[in-house]
Amino acid sequence: MAKIEMTVNGRVTSANVEDRTLLVDYLREEKNLTGTHVGCDTSQCGSCVVHVDGKAVKSCTMLAAQAAGSEIRTIEGLAGDDQLHPMQEAFRNNHGLQCGFCTPGMIMTAVDMVNRLGPKLDEKTIRAELEGNICRCTGYHNIVKSIAAGAKAMGKGMKKAAE
């Protein structure tokens, strides 16, 4: 057992966890943040993507203890209360989801994609960058559209903030 402290969605939290506890299990079971999903057991599907210190990480690949001291952001904390992040808005406006299970991971990956590569993303880049996220419902067609639109909207937001 280890006592760990981390910031989750802006709040400092601490807990005693077993050494083997994965970050995803800590978030889902200890923090009740069930928006982060588990879709596989080989770190392939990306349903569990969260941001650790601002970078997209599959939370099934990391022990909770390794995240001690880090800032974690999950889908629940992506936007403020009653607000939607532009990427969330884009997934809704472009029918970028069906069953919704892979969606939180997709959105967290997409936001990271824009943070790293900027708001102008072409289809080829988006498809290549989604290599670590599997969706079984949409055929990715509308996910790609959603991410392009969300990136553009984030770009406008960045520009506005810069001004």
């Binding site: 809704r92 299970f101 939180p104 289809e123 498809r127 079984r136 055929g139 990715y140």
Partner: protein
């Protein structure tokens, strides 16, 4: 039409919770006193259980109980059944072997459940499950269907000699043979349809709660049909009577057929919660566990031949199929390779003589059942590869050969049961060819050739039968249930509306599209409408969602209930306004007398229904109506898919350059949702054609049992799709709609393979057309 009515691209109401992480899937639910289940599973494909030693495991930390199959059957829990009776051609009923939710004497596939551990934490349950010592006598196993029917093959069930479940036929064999005798040309093919794993992204899960004081169970589970689950759990598995069992299917993360069935795990969690005297037991599948327990799909091998006259008209079609059903008969497994398959062998074509023989067999593999399309993809793959191959062999343009043989008059009775009600196959073929710029393909082929690449184009003109199905018809064919749907429309005193439906949404967007019907009918805003589904305590009954039935059957039930509500509301309004009922009009939230300025607001009429102060003589208060809708026929979506590929002959890599889908789904409620269904279906079909394959070794170990080994289509494997629709209204239901959920997966595999075989210049290629297989086919030549 209001902006949120029928035909509008309404954004989805359910999305808010999913994009913010507020969706509530089964595994997200927790209850006080919850324990965890872990299953002890067979590592052998076929073995006799000599002894189960759980003594030391049961003393491990947190363990409250370890149970096996003898205890399960000892408590009177019934065997898992197949709900569709098929008779062999000699009249004998299918040979169903016993399937206990926990194996009693024998295990028959890797993953077969032998025992369950109930413990306080998941880690403790898993650790103890590892420690349960099962002594097996390993037996010889058989994996391939063709091997299982051979004399001397290992036998799985005493009920099924030579592992044969049934030997069934459809059509007039003598007529077909006579047609072949006068043929000018005969085209023959051996075709395999590769075994797939459905892979809904949410793994299956069950949370069984037991209330000892009330002797009552509540099951949260990943189900496409919670009422069917309750019925089967009660009537056949004897877990609890229906009035003592509530089944809830909350948010469900995809199904594609794999969540229709009632699996051993749900049965065991319910039974074990009571037996272990705990408040609740939860089990959630790992992905690795899903690969070896979720029902697989497809797995057919067929020999087919088609006879043509001198004018290239099809004279006859003869097919012999062996279908692998795995180790046990899953819920609908018997119907898939028979009535959902051979009845579609006429395709879009006028074929007078068809005969199909189907043998289904047991093998030491995971049970096989319906997966998106279920039987219809197998039929379409056969018919459309045959048409393309025939065109090449006969030296005619593939589009022309299809045109020569299209059904052009409706209704059209095929020789294999189905009666096509409406369609225009020429329209979808033309639309697809235009969208694909078919005419200029040769230019593009030359351009690719200059880069050393092989370019190919292939088409598939599919038809499928969905919106299952007329209850009397399926009953006569052996179905154990009726396939109607029910709905209830509850109008509240303030005029808001709740629709309770027996359909279940696990990605289809019912909360949006079903609401559009109400919005359209009464002109109400969508925020005033709530769709309720997935809970046996709330919805009276329902048959659930599969077979592309929620639109054609589920929505038709809602339409029927809305008719009744509208009629009663008009009666009340006529009485309140002192007008004639026939003059009342309900529109944009107002109830008015036609041609006058007399009107009431919608909610005033609803309130009037509930106060009962001023109702017509003898009328009951309230405004709530239910309906059961039983379809009169299947619906027959049809269309044309064209795929264009570029193949790198040096690596065997196939790139899909273009994929065009032109579908006829009849009237469309929400085009955005329909397009999404096509995108997803096509992606699964391309997955089958290019990469997906459940591969067993000779000992029955599933080699492709994780996402490291089973290739799921990813974003960079697929193009953006060119999707459009043509329309012939379905005459069989009040909305004129046809099912759209499976078409993409049904129509696309042959289009892809026809394109690749066109590129490589010969036909010798099986699915999946992986780089290795394509490279080998290029090297081998014809």
């Amino acid at each position: 039409m209001g902006i949120e009515g029928i035909g509008a691209r309404v954004l989805r109401k359910e999305d808010k919770r999913f994009i913010t992480g507020q969706g509530r899937y089964t595994d997200d639910h927790k209850v006080a006193g919850m324990h965890y289940a872990a299953f002890v599973r067979s590592p052998h494909a076929h073995a006799k259980i000599k002894k189960i030693n759980s003594k030391s495991a049961s003393q491990m930390s947190g363990v409250v109980g370890i149970f096996d199959g003898k205890q399960l059957t000892g408590d009177g829990i019934g065997n898992i059944i197949c709900g569709w009776m098929i008779h062999s051609k000699d009249g004998s009923p299918m040979n169903m072997g016993a399937w206990s939710a926990l194996a009693t004497e024998y295990v028959r596939y890797v993953g077969d459940a032998v025992a369950v551990v109930i413990a306080e934490s998941l880690a403790e349950a898993k650790a103890a499950a590892e420690a349960v010592d099962v002594d097996y006598k390993v037996l010889k196993s058989v994996i391939k269907a063709e091997d299982a029917i051979k004399d001397g093959a290992p036998q799985l069930h005493p009920e099924a000699k030579n592992n044969t479940i049934y030997d069934w036929e459809i059509g007039d064999e003598a007529g077909v043979d006579a047609a072949f005798a006068k043929a000018a040309n005969i085209v023959e093919m051996d075709i395999e349809n590769n075994r797939l794993v459905p892979n809904a992204m949410e793994p299956r899960s069950a949370l069984a709660e037991y209330d000892a004081a009330e002797d009552h169970f509540t099951l949260h589970t990943t189900s496409q049909n919670p009422h069917v689950a309750r019925l089967v759990l009660s009537a056949f598995y004897q877990v609890a009577p229906e009035n003592k069992l509530r089944v809830i299917a909350p948010d469900v993360g995809g199904g594609f057929g794999s969540k229709i069935y009632i699996y051993p795990e749900e049965i065991v969690c319910l039974w074990a919660a009571k037996r272990a005297r705990v408040k609740a037991v939860k089990w959630t599948s790992d992905r690795s566990e899903a690969f070896i327990t979720d029902a697989h799909g497809r797995d057919h091998v067929s020999k087919a031949k088609m006879a043509f006259d001198a004018n290239n008209k099809i004279l006859g079609f003869k097919v012999d199929t062996i279908a692998n059903l795995g180790a046990y008969m899953s819920l609908f497994s018997s119907s898939v390779p028979t009535y959902l398959y051979a009845t579609l062998l006429s395709g879009q074509y006028n074929i007078e003589n068809i005969h199909c023989n189907v043998r289904t067999v047991y093998t030491n593999t995971v049970p096989v059942d319906a997966y998106r399309g279920a039987g219809r993809p197998e039929a379409t793959y056969l018919v459309e590869r045959m048409m393309e191959t025939a065109a090449r062999q006969l030296g005619v343009d593939p589009a022309e050969l299809r045109r020569t043989n299209f059904v052009r008059e409706f209704p059209h009775q095929t020789p294999v049961i189905m009666c096509y009600d409406a369609g225009d196959y020429e329209a979808s073929l033309s639309a697809a060819m235009e969208a694909a710029d078919y005419a200029n393909f040769e230019k593009r082929r030359k351009k690719s050739a200059r880069k050393g690449m092989l370019r190919g184009i292939g088409m598939s003109c599919y038809i499928e039968a969905c919106g299952i199905a007329p209850s009397a018809a399926v009953g006569s064919l052996g179905a154990g249930v009726g396939l109607w749907e029910s709905a209830e429309v509850r109008v509240n005193p303030v005029g808001t509306v709740e629709v309770l439906t027996g359909s279940h949404s696990h990605g289809q967007g019912h909360e949006t599209t079903f609401g559009q019907l109400v919005s359209d009918r009464f002109g109400l805003p969508s925020e005033n409408i709530q769709i309720v589904h997935g809970d046996t305590d709330k919805v009276q009954f329902g048959m659930g969602t599969y077979g592309s039935r929620s639109g054609a059957v589920g929505m038709s039930a809602i339409e029927k209930a809305l008719d009744k509500v509208e009629a009663k509301a008009k009666k009340i309004a006529a009485h309140m306004l002192e007008a004639s009922e026939g003059d009342i009009e309900i529109k944009d939230g107002e109830v008015s007398v036609k041609g006058t300025d007399k009107k009431l607001l919608w909610h005033e009429v609803c309130l009037g229904a509930y106060t009962g102060h001023n109702l017509p003589e003898g009328m009951e208060p309230g405004l709530k109506e239910g309906a059961f809708y039983d379809p009169t026929n299947f619906t027959f979506p049809a269309g044309c898919y064209i795929c264009e590929v570029e193949v790198d002959p040096d690596t065997g890599t196939t790139t899909i350059e273009k994929f065009v889908a032109a579908d006829d789904f009849g009237k469309i409620i929400n085009p955005m949702i329909v397009e999404g269904q096509v995108h997803g279906g096509v992606a699964q079909g391309i997955g089958q054609a290019l990469m997906e394959h459940a591969v067993y070794d000779d000992e029955g170990q599933l080699l492709s049992a994780s996402y490291m080994d089973y290739t799921m289509p990813r974003a960079d494997d697929l193009p953006s799709f060119n999707v459009s629709t043509t329309e012939t209204a379905c005459p069989g239901n009040p909305l004129g709609i046809k099912g759209c959920g499976e078409a993409g997966a049904i129509g696309s595999p042959p289009a892809v393979i026809n394109a690749i075989t066109n590129a490589i210049g010969h036909n010798n290629l099986s699915m999946p057309a992986s780089p290795h297989n394509v490279w080998a086919a290029v090297q081998a030549g014809e």
